[in-house]
């Protein structure tokens, strides 16, 4: 399995760059993942989305539906794409350290 250095530590990642151990996530990891997603600066609005995803995942064990994410953070899907150019799954979930989205994506 490939490894990359994030925030001074080595992490196992899959071929899409999702970290393989959600437990080792922290804010520094999110910041170092941001560069690969076309995000130059992680703003408060980014953190609002990332923290919401993170909290929802820890509480329920799944990533929230897109509708739920938009409703709770107040960012509509267009805004989410402005914040995370690769979208809520490949961008935001990756930064929040969630498992890679599955199914017929």
């Amino acid at each position: 399995m490939p490894q990359i250095e994030l925030a001074g530590e080595m992490f196992d990642v899959d071929e899409d760059g999702f970290i393989q151990d959600p437990d080792r996530w922290n804010e520094e990891v999110a910041k170092s993942l941001a560069a690969g997603e076309g995000i130059s600066e992680v703003t408060d609005e980014h953190w609002k989305v990332i923290n919401y995803l993170r909290d929802y995942y820890l509480k329920f064990g799944i990533a929230p539906m897109v509708r739920r994410l938009c409703k709770e953070t107040g960012c509509n899907l267009k805004r989410i794409y402005e914040l995370f150019p690769s979208g809520p799954a490949k961008g935001a979930c990756k930064l929040a350290g969630l498992p890679k989205p599955t199914g017929c994506v």
Binding site: D21, I62, P99
Partner: protein
Amino acid sequence: MSQAAPRKTDIGPPQYEKFLPPIVKKNYGKWLYHEILKPGVMVHVAESGDKLFTVRAGSPRLISIMTIRKFCDFADKYCSGFLRFTSRNNVEFLLTDQTKIDPLIADLKAVGFPVGGLGNSISNIVHTQGWVHCHSSATDASGIVKSVMDDLIEYFTGMKLPGKLRIALACCLNMCGAVHCSDIAILGVHRRPPKVQHDNLKKLCEIPTLISSCPTGAIRTAMVDGKESVEIEEDLCMYCANCYTVCPATALNDPLNDGISIWVGGKVSNARHEPMFSKLAIPYIPNNPPRWPEVVSAVRNLVEIWAKDARKYERMGEWINRIGWPRFFKKAGIEFTKYHIDDFKFAGTTYKKSVHLKY
């Protein structure tokens, strides 16, 4: 926040009218009738008297850019650069000059693309990715399609069947494509429950999603060696692999036990009889690459008993409805087993509730 350089997006596909031959543009919506002149060749006649000749050739669907360029060369040579692909992935050349039909057919044959697939024939097999590209396949797609069409090529290039016969293939029961509604459907199946990787499961999967993916409720949470994971009630598992679709830690691919099932009697058109689902004919045939001889002979057998017995225009499903399933199994020489009896949720509607039965 910064944005990447402005990129072009949401422009949709190119307008199809840009690629219509002038004769189609001129007569758009004003066609009078069409005729099949010979296998793979048809003519559409417009109100204006214009005639459009179509030559249909089989394609393996999975084609290289070199093949596409070859098709383009033919289109340039014979039909001013216009061609189209059909919904069964055949390629059609649209000609205005009748004298060019035979040279085009000769050129296509010379490079290995048979002309046919029109009328009462077996047209192309709608199929999926198989071992070429998909992670959840129980069998291959391109390989079986090639083997079956090699055997049935006389039905592609000829029109000697009573009606249309559609064959489709899907390599797992996601059923991408048309296996659930085809006259003969070839479908990859598993026969063993998933092997759960307890060490990785929590890291790779969303457990609630995994549990709710199971159509029979066979998955439940469990702690294994102090790790959050799931256990699978193997008596309840029917090996659909839906859990593997949502969770990479529940793989169930198994080279020895994976294989193929064959389904019959589906259709989508409303002609004569309403659309029908295909139903199970053969529960299991082992994978036998590269030529899958057992699958090939099973499909040929089904085609031949139907072709011999069906009335004109009668599709596979209509024929079976007329003679009844017991006689279908007898004629096809297929053993009727417990696997044929529906046992999913409201299965009762598929049971026999009358005394009308042939011995």
